[in-house]
Symmetry: C2
Subunit: 197 residues, 2 copies
DNA sequence: ACCTGAACACCGTTCAAGT
DNA sequence: ACCTGAACACCGTTCAAGT
């Protein structure tokens, strides 16, 4: 024991994050703990706090992985032939699909909140920004007033998220991804039609 | 000790819920625990589990109180003279104001999620339903197809929520309630204009 | 330098025992 | 009948001590 040197510091960090993500995927965020991670990767609890600052630091890195996975899922799923409203609708569908297929890790994104006095670290904000830029670029293609494209991107993205989050957490009396899509479709159709006028 | 009979079972339940709500308001959901409640109300931990099923049962009752408070806040704030889009905009403003003024208890509504295998209890769903009915009745006044009013109410309500949640948790790069209102106003204007067409 | 594991101050939950 | 509080199986976090 001690001084095993089986893995580099960076390898241990990766083991922690990937094992933590698996724990969340299998048992939900409430069934997740750093002690469980330690048990699974075969290091003791002390080692986790050797390579990460604290619990929040670990959760944030796990959630960042989920954000990356979501970005990849959306980018790969987008059909470049679709235009305008249809492109946004597909974006919404991909968001819903990802959330549905990765319910536990997606939920963890919102079940965990940093204490209100502290701010999200810069590297984490950049991961969010990156996701967001996908929506923005889809919208900017067909919005006349370019200066307002960012505002509309925010409205649409946040609204899709709101519909998705309330549906999947059973706060809208809506069942199944098909009926969630009816709501996001209605949002997109009417909002964009309103913009055209 | 034992058999104090200082309070009825119902009184103890109320003490637990109101003390728990205060804990959340002052320290956030993460600074909340049933043991803290016990300490604050002057009963031992065992008593809490005498009058409530478990942790989830307690949190759900605290959150239901917040839902009720929100309903009251919105109903009292609504100006009955406002019509159509202006009425919905005011609804959004009231939602944002409530969330902003009661950030911790409002956050707790979403930071806590029942385990995915179980369902929300019926009495809790009814509290959500009651809140909805406010939005629904505001909308039904000027929607032609009455049969679709519920769908649109869900879309608008969930979208307002989405804008609010991503703004207040700093995931939209938006600061201050004023700029959140710009987004909800844009949502409502365009969605309703889209409906009219 | 790397890693351990005991120690500390917390959790939610149960239930035999006291009045 | 009502309430207690010890007991259990967990937490996150720290840090002296081992190799």
């Amino acid at each position: 024991m001690a001084r095993r040197n089986d893995h580099t510091k960076e390898e241990i960090r990766e083991m922690i994050v990937s094992s933590g993500l698996n724990l969340i995927k299998n048992s939900g965020f409430s069934g997740f703990s750093t002690r469980q991670i330690a048990k699974e990767i075969g290091y003791t609890i002390g080692t986790l706090y050797n390579v990460f600052d604290n619990y929040d630091d670990i959760v944030l890195h796990i959630n960042a992985t989920t954000l990356d996975d979501m970005g990849k899922f959306i980018e790969e799923g987008l059909n470049p032939k679709l235009k305008n409203a249809n492109a946004i609708k597909q974006l919404a569908k991909l968001y819903i699909d990802f959330a549905h297929k990765n319910r536990n890790s997606w939920s963890a994104l919102f079940e965990y909140n940093i204490p209100p006095e502290s701010d999200l670290p810069e590297w984490y904000n950049q991961r969010i920004e990156k996701l967001f830029s996908i929506v923005e670029s889809l919208l900017s293609e067909f919005i006349n007033k370019k200066s307002e494209a960012l505002k509309h991107a925010k409205v649409i993205w946040a609204s899709i998220h709101g519909i998705c989050v309330l549906s999947l957490t059973q706060k809208l009396n809506v069942a199944g991804t098909a009926s969630v899509e009816i709501l996001t479709d209605s949002l997109i159709e009417n909002y964009l039609r309103g913009l055209e006028k």
